[in-house]
Subunit: 422 residues, 4 copies
């Protein structure tokens, strides 16, 4: 991901700014095509399976984002609307309690019908009808819903990749999704503490373009004096934590984190696995199982692990003395002021913050059923900022708030450290 | 297996009687082809999914029975044996603890690689090699293992069907496997009690052909004086049990059965479902969801339900006064003496007996790893006798012992009643 | 019960044979006093706690057996019956589904009210009223119910002891219940195979005195030719099984047993614990934690363990070649014929048999709510024969059928071996 | 609870300010005596039982706070220290991972030894030794540890009461702890919105006396413009929520809250129960089961319920339009400025805030093992402010931060509402 997508250093135009309906139609079609491109390396069977309740089958992702357009866009706006298949409204609903029955989340892998082929036919039908609709109807409300639909599909594009990676890791064959995936470059700069923006800061999205409800309203917050690292924590640093017995030492861990380490027998990031011959770590990814790259940012660690690492580094690594995770406001302020000094804010790994996911002052969920999108998850989740190598380009921004529960680690999650004072 | 114990509909010759190697080869190839025929109505996705831990994906069944031939037949007997893919020996092992690692049973639906197509290619390769081997090597030991392999694959053919039915039932679309499945005919005869064979009886397989280790040795047992029903319990009779509040009345149930009814909210046989308009029961099957046929044998009931029904019928249905489930020895003695009077001993539903599955006196498991086949399951399972509409023709016999835990009901399980005295 | 089936140490007269009402009253009072004597070494707190769902607090045992007399004896027979406290009928009911609400089984340890003192007062009140009743009413029906009540209380006396032992084992202080408990004597005789009674044998209770419904009717059964050990398996023999890796070798175990060993991390009988200094086993009992006595019968092993031991001994111990567990009918036939040669049939440990617990031919449960006593547990339980050191003297007989699920081992459970042939 | 314990309206001296060692000794002895007074209405059995994993037996509370003094105070400071009983250091440790083995939390109710009497003897011994020590040793460090010990015991005094209430509620007898418990008075004032303190505010403890590490450091925070209710939400208001179907309507609930309502079948605050005759709610408390007092503050609601109620009230109760839970900083600012207008800040119910429990900027856990006290719980917990009717007088302050997971409701938890703007 390039720095030119950031506010300040962002171009005047983001992919979600549309001067005309033509641009919106183009973005819609590009987004729809991108999802189908993502499954090119996959078989119908690959698209069928669900590896755990948190993940979904690729076919389900393709169908669910289509369901969104059918129910949220076509149903209210299309003349003589008819369901392609009314049963799909149950099968591919996700969490919208307001829309009636849903297929049980942990049983999405059992929906062998419709087949992948039938889902793709359905997708095409919906695509055509949305194109027709957008040519006839230029209402603000419709545009807003399609913009949500595009961002929604982009979120599922990232989930599709993380879910396939998790699925393939369950198979002793350790299949390769694609050889040509992103390679994390070694950082070009040495570690240094950057002075954080302190005092009153402006937080949240204040522009005119599309953004999620949880990024607004823009408001004032107060940052303490602090410093923040210019680089992400690396695999090599994490290996030192392991070598020092970090996963066996209760003192570094939150109480709930320690219980999790014990009950789940956690001893390394999710996709790390010891080569039985070399006794060195490999890391499984969409490119297959490869030797660990020490310079790459550490990835697939939970909040519990990120927090424990910070506590350990604070006491064991001299240049990290006093280290802790940043708050989400410290991260956002950094992104406003020093994006050129801070490396890999975007495009490598989502970065855990110490902030619980909660409503901004004056927060209003979107009206209607889209109101279930964000607000109802505001408990027991931690905020992540930035974006990852799997994030669809153009999807994230510096006000974007990703969030997951503390034990989550099948997402592309890493960290950068901060500390009090300068 | 003796011809006089077969239902009239059975051929004089079963596939497991082999006068020559040619016949064995023919039976092997027929058995292999039958499995592939069973998946004709299925898509790769249908063959991928696993609906619960007890069930397996169709693709897994196809692969596992192939694994059996590769590891049990080719590996010890073929010159210059090489695995088609050594990882498959882990992926498609089932319960053979003696052969090392296994893929976790509840995660068989996650094996999207190899694809269905690749499994079929592997099957063909193994088929060719087994054919070659059987032409060169006529040893008794090899023949015995291939006979086991054929019976083993037949068992998985039935499981494949029951597992697909269970999978499809999880989908609100209620897919149809095939319109042309078996239809249960209405019974031709009226109910009557048949006098059971009492006193000393011969139990177990005593012939020369293939049979499972758990059917032997042939031995003497003692039957009390008893009677046994000529017909199976029907859907109409079961409906009367439901109407009389049978599922809400603790007095009919074993203690463990009552706990199961409560915890699983059981109120009818597995695939019965109330039509929301007519308020009448439909029954889901491989033919789809059809109105319940009152004359057909009740199917998909657990041992707990069969036992409760017997207790209820014993007190509530005058002609069933004193009814109970038969022992497996009462059933076997009936099959020796009165197969023409006793209807549907085979080919409709497996019939629960009151006998726990245990070793016959002098029982010896097969030698080698095949010894894990039967003996190690001899606890907390109840014996079923006969065969079902899904059983591959020629697979069962009157000494055949099927067995499942008391709550099991995704198999084709029904019952016939017996009583003390004549 | 016939005197010739008792071990030599048993009295000629058991408490359940009553020539007159006086004898019955005496037996009733003795039984009631015995329960109270058992709690003499215990504090109110000791009597309060419940260590697991299978066990009950000592106070609950004292109350439940009293509830039995109040509801089953006084309520139907006493003039102007009134409950001591109607709430007790809910709190101290156990499994009688026919009598309405019950306090949840796993929460018996939460009933801090009534106090132990109040329960003892209630006991005295019920005792006095039953005494009065028995002086006035000499009906057969009443006598039968009081006999059941006495046997019922005897069963809870044994449970009270096993439950206290289990409770005390959870406490790092390893409290001592009483120094003066039974000591298992070293066997006086050398091992030898006794020829079993084969062919048609008479099984079940055929006398006139009290017995449980599950011991009847007396009937004919058929025993194969077999031999049976004169002695119980000892701690020393079990230690050899452990030393030979018995708990780490899947081949000895039933499939369900192996899953149990793995999930519960089983590596020795329940109360065996390694002394951290000597690295030798101690055994916790009501006498405290003492060095293991190699000559004593092994105790507190599950059916799974007993079955695995037999399979191991059959192949690894020369004089046990071909060994297996006896059937319950083999055990009962032995007790009829050779009680002087067979040591420790009674009074040491209950002995696992290979027989599932099921109804005898023609079995009829007791009428009324007492019918729930035995019949409804006839699935997924294995039969044990004999009696243990904790069994109240006079309680058991050679037709007595104890039963527990295969993983159970907090009871005083051991084994003797048998084999086919002579 | 009296208003004179509040800051501003608080006296200059709180019970935890000690001008001299005499005052500290006096406070220590008062605190120790208070715990024993709390169990006066309880039997040894009442003090033994543990009703759920979150709760502890009263005896355990008495022992654990004593363990704290023995291990944290006497062990490092007393000459020739010896354990009263070394095993107690395992039995009565709670969450201090730094101190080695612990007895499993959910099995505290199984520790029938030592008896209540023995624990009280141990308490007296420790009391005497601490008194002696405090007379000889006047070090700051010792004083600090004893102050922690006093506050620690006060926390367990409140827990002891909530745990007994929960235990008694499991018993159909619904025992009464004491008739003379606190009665919530009807509020003297009408509802009105108070203008909240906005802009930069000072948060956290800044004085010289005892306080917990999580209340410091004192720091600047930024409050948005907001209003806050002068009164607590009442039972009558909650009843309106129930009547309006609040527990059956997903739209009011957080996603995790709705899942909790469904899985736990929640339909009213914890101790509310419908009288089967009047069909009106009663509320169980330490005074027994009494008719619900509509004017009393609602109590024993979870964060999920408090949040859902706020969302409902915001849309359904006109004077609560726009209502939400306050942040902990809004609450603390209110307590600094308007304690006379805001009723029941202390002494009725702990008040849920919308703030996740996290570290203040610059937070440092106490050094040594006491450092495990607070910091390691800073995830997945919500902050409560104020104090309850069960809180030991003098224990809380306006900077005090109580915290529990979102589903918790066996504590004395209620709420007051806030809204954006004035």
């Amino acid at each position: 991901m390039q720095t030119n997508i950031l506010p300040l250093s962002m171009p005047n135009k983001t992919p979600t700014e549309f001067d005309s309906m033509d641009a919106l139609i183009k973005a819609f079609n590009a987004s729809r095509a991108h999802s189908v491109k993502l499954i090119e390396p996959l078989s119908p069977e690959d698209c069928q399976a669900q590896s755990m309740e948190d993940a979904s089958p690729a076919k389900w992702h393709l169908a669910h984002v289509t369901w969104f357009y059918e129910v949220m866009v076509l149903k209210p706006f299309e003349d003589n609307f008819q369901y392609w298949n009314p049963a799909f409204a149950i099968l591919f609903n996700s969490y919208y309690n307001g829309i009636g029955d849903k297929h049980p989340r942990h049983q999405r892998g059992l929906l062998t019908r419709p087949s992948l082929g039938e889902v793709l036919v359905w997708r095409n039908n919906i695509n055509e009808r949305v194109n027709l609709l957008l040519k006839k109807n230029h209402s603000q409300e419709l545009q807003k819903l399609v913009e949500i639909g595009i961002s929604h599909e982009q979120q599922h594009q990232e989930l599709l990749l993380t879910d396939i990676q998790h699925l393939f890791f369950q198979n002793a064959l350790l299949p390769i999704y694609s050889e040509s995936q992103h390679v994390s470059a070694a950082p070009e700069y040495e570690f240094k503490w950057l002075e954080g923006a302190s005092g009153l800061v402006n937080i949240g999205y204040s522009g005119e373009e599309f953004h999620f409800d949880n990024e607004s309203p823009s408001h004032t917050a107060f940052n303490q004096t602090h410093s923040i690292s210019n680089i992400l924590v690396s695999n090599a640093e994490w290996d030192a934590f392991i070598e020092d017995g970090g996963y066996q030492d209760a003192r570094w861990w939150l109480d709930a984190g320690w219980a999790w380490v014990k009950s789940e027998s956690i001893s390394a990031p999710l996709y790390w696995n010891l080569n039985s011959e070399t006794q060195k770590y490999c890391q499984f990814s969409l490119k297959g199982n490869l030797p660990l790259n020490p310079q790459a940012p550490v990835c697939n660690v939970s909040y519990f692990e990120a927090d424990a690492f910070a506590r350990w580094a604070s006491q064991r690594i001299s240049h990290y003395a006093g280290a802790r995770l940043p708050t989400e406001f410290e991260w956002e302020a950094l992104s406003q002021v020093k994006p050129k000094l801070a490396l890999n804010l975007f495009g490598e790994v989502w970065q855990w913050t110490s902030s619980s996911y909660s409503a901004y002052p004056g927060y209003q969920p979107w009206s209607g059923i889209a109101g279930e999108y964000n607000g109802k998850f505001m408990v027991n989740q931690m905020v992540l900022r930035g974006s990852s190598a799997y994030t669809t380009p153009g999807h994230s921004r510096n006000t974007y708030r990703n969030f997951f529960p503390a034990p989550t680690r099948w997402q592309m999650t890493g960290l950068r450290l901060a500390k009090d004072g300068i």
